[in-house]
């Protein structure tokens, strides 16, 4: 059984009965290897469609999850259960419960970094005050607004108005969490929350793949929320210096906010400033100063001043990328798509209204970005298989569009892999307003391919 990946969360979905006899059959060596190769922050096992489980059955999955956490420093746990199953799991593992429990997949997704910048309001209650605080801190660090309720009675009252909250967090448990540096997106800036004493371990807990993804898809301002940092050593200093060098290549800015130098040598500040890091006392100093935000690159996902030209290697792979796009569209719709024209140019979109766009980057032996722009009707048609019903819900369509683009990214990765080019793909990004994509891609030269699909046109654009 293979895990399904959404954003940076991978989930196994076993069905039926789960015991010590059959559980090993769900996870072959190939399945485990495939899971190890995923670029994820969280790995879960869903119990939504498991009607019976015993401890021996769960243990098989838990062992795999713990191994994965030890190797990759990711959060692991179980999700999608009811209150009865939650109690059973707690009884099975008691004080040895060292993995997380999320009542739903939707709740789990709140505890990982995404490309989205919309903070969610979340009602939160847990009988254990330390769990309550840990969840609140994590949710806050990931950019959400947790409403923490102190008593069961108050929680039951507030639960009566579910429409006020994006999610209601109960029957949830954080086990060995906070292994990764928490990440949130505010506008077009990415904020990382760091704390305590920073040493060489920052290299493991900081999600460098996510950071590279963000650079590749156009983010240019990165802020370290360092209010909770007590001190750092030379290994952490080296890490941040290297990060600054790689950011410079993309013309990106990295800032520290709230870092004090009572216990950190002041020479470190000088070294970091020399590497291009900026220091601010308060987060508001940046986020509420529009001029400064624009100057730092956080007002829009604008491309770097240096435009990166297409390489011969990338152009050589163009037929493969187009084939990946067309064949995915054919697979999802059983309708034909055909190439109409192809030019090297900057991105040109006629009638940017009534269109959705999405992008996915890849980096490694080759780097670049695929941009797709669809009329809304085509986007809906392309996603029907994933959504399952006709919908006008823009969020659902854009989420499915991200899944659709992820399949294309996966195919492109396979095509490149067959030619011994190892690449990783970024998280897909979707745009309900094509103008914000055009702003990011305005100076980028690339190959624009116009394609037709059932009488409509859509655009494929490959750039760096």
């Amino acid at each position: 059984m293979r895990a399904t990946v959404k954003g940076r969360v991978a989930v196994f979905h076993p069905q039926g009965f789960l015991d010590g006899n059959n559980a090993p059959s769900f996870l072959t060596i190939d399945d485990i290897r495939a899971t190890e190769s995923l670029n994820i922050d969280m790995l879960l096992v869903s119990l939504k469609k498991v009607i019976f489980f015993n401890k021996n059955g769960l243990d098989v999955f838990i062992r795999m999850l713990i191994n994965m956490r030890n190797q990759k420093h990711i959060a692991v746990g179980l999700c999608d259960y009811d209150s009865a199953k939650f109690k059973t799991i707690q009884i099975f593992y008691g004080s040895n419960l060292n993995f997380s429990l999320f009542r739903t997949e939707k709740i789990a997704e709140l505890f990982v970094a995404t490309n989205k910048s919309d903070p969610k309001t979340i009602l939160l209650y847990n009988e254990d005050p330390s769990q309550r605080s840990a969840m609140a801190i994590e949710l806050f660090d990931y950019g959400h607004n947790p409403i923490i309720v102190q008593s069961k009675k108050e929680f039951e009252e507030k639960k009566q108005n579910p429409d006020l909250y994006y999610a209601i967090v109960e029957d949830t448990y954080l086990g060995l969490f906070g292994q990764k540096v928490a990440t949130r997106v505010t506008g077009n800036a990415i904020i990382y929350t760091i704390g305590n004493f920073l040493d060489a371990e920052i290299g493991n807990t900081f999600n460098i793949a996510y950071h590279n993804n963000s650079l590749n898809v156009g983010f240019r301002l990165f802020i370290f929320d360092a209010y909770k940092v007590v001190s750092m050593n030379v290994h952490a200093l080296n890490f941040f210096t290297k990060l600054a060098s790689s950011a410079a290549e993309y013309n990106a800015t990295i800032c520290f906010v709230g870092l004090t130098f009572d216990k950190t040598p002041i020479t470190f500040k000088n070294d970091l400033e020399d590497a291009g890091m900026l220091f601010f006392d308060q987060m508001e100093d940046i986020l509420k100063n529009k001029e400064l935000l624009q100057e730092l690159g956080g007002s829009s996902a604008t491309a770097s001043k240096k435009t990166r030209s297409l390489t011969k290697g990338l152009i050589n792979e163009l037929p493969g990328f187009i084939d990946a796009t067309v064949s995915t569209l054919v697979m999802m719709t059983n309708a034909k798509a055909a190439k109409e024209s192809m030019n090297i140019q900057t991105l040109e979109v006629k009638d940017s209204q009534n269109q959705y766009a999405s992008s996915i980057g890849f980096y490694g032996d080759l780097d670049g970005m695929i941009i797709l722009i669809f009329p809304k009707t085509v986007a809906k048609k392309a996603c029907e298989l994933l959504i399952g019903e006709e919908t006008e819900n823009e969020e659902a369509i854009l989420d499915s569009l991200a899944e659709f683009v992820n399949i294309i990214g996966g195919r492109a990765k396979t095509i490149l892999g067959e030619k011994k080019n190892r690449v990783d793909i970024t998280l897909p990004r979707t745009y309900s307003d094509v103008n914000s994509l055009l702003e990011m891609a305005q100076n980028k030269k690339g190959v624009q391919v116009d394609l037709s699909f059932e009488g409509s046109h859509f655009t494929f654009f490959l750039t760096r």
């Binding site: 399904t4 989930v11 039926g16 469609k49 009607i51 019976f52 697979m331 899944e403």
Partner: protein, 269 residues
Amino acid sequence: MVTKDEIVHYIQNIPPAPSIVKQTLDFTRAGDLTKAAKCAEEDPALKLYLKTLVNRPVYGFRNEVTDLPQIFGILGVSTAQQILYNYLMSVLVPKKWDLFELDHHAFYDLQASLSNKWTKILSHLGLLNHDNESAITLLPASIIVCDALFGTHKHEVEQLKSVKSLDYNTILFRLCQLSLFDICNEIAKKWELPETVSRVVHASSGNDHNLNPTENVLAQWMHLLLFFELSQSTYVSAGLNEFIEFKIDFVQDIYESFMQVVEYDACNG
């Protein structure tokens, strides 16, 4: 991916029930097992199938049974009818499974195990009759159909499933507005199976409404039985656990009784 044209082509190519099997079934339904055995003797493939199947461990006979009248006598009317339908199904079984990692033995064991447990369930429900007993034989047709339609699209399905947890039945329905169970109904029509059989098997997908209370109960038990079997190691390894969506809510209220009827020990494994 799978198209409506491919489905139409598949349905057109389902072979009709062979005349000897039809006659044997008619004698069996009429309760004349001696004539049924005599008729079955004329088809060497059917004879071999019956001998091989009856002597598999799942039937629990200590000594090898080779004589057809003896086989029919041991089986009785209902089980003989079930086995004849299972034989019809074997006509559809692919020489080589493309989508699922199954072999003939694993598939026949699945048929036999489903049939045995289904008989126990019907006894428990007080709904034991020839048609109800035969219903279970059509269920594995959905697996055969799934393998036939998706076998050449395995890689595409894997890519789709990498981003969304979708079962084959849902994928097929969203693409072609036809489910695997709709195609099973077409098989049932071609083989002139009773309509009640195809209605119950169709409803066992857990997606049907407007069922009468008895059909609903049979569909619930069949759905849970299918997932009980598809949770066995052999079938999990074969990839059958992801074949259709398990509807927990549909079977929740029969779960406790089911565990008793199939004598499942919760401490197992």
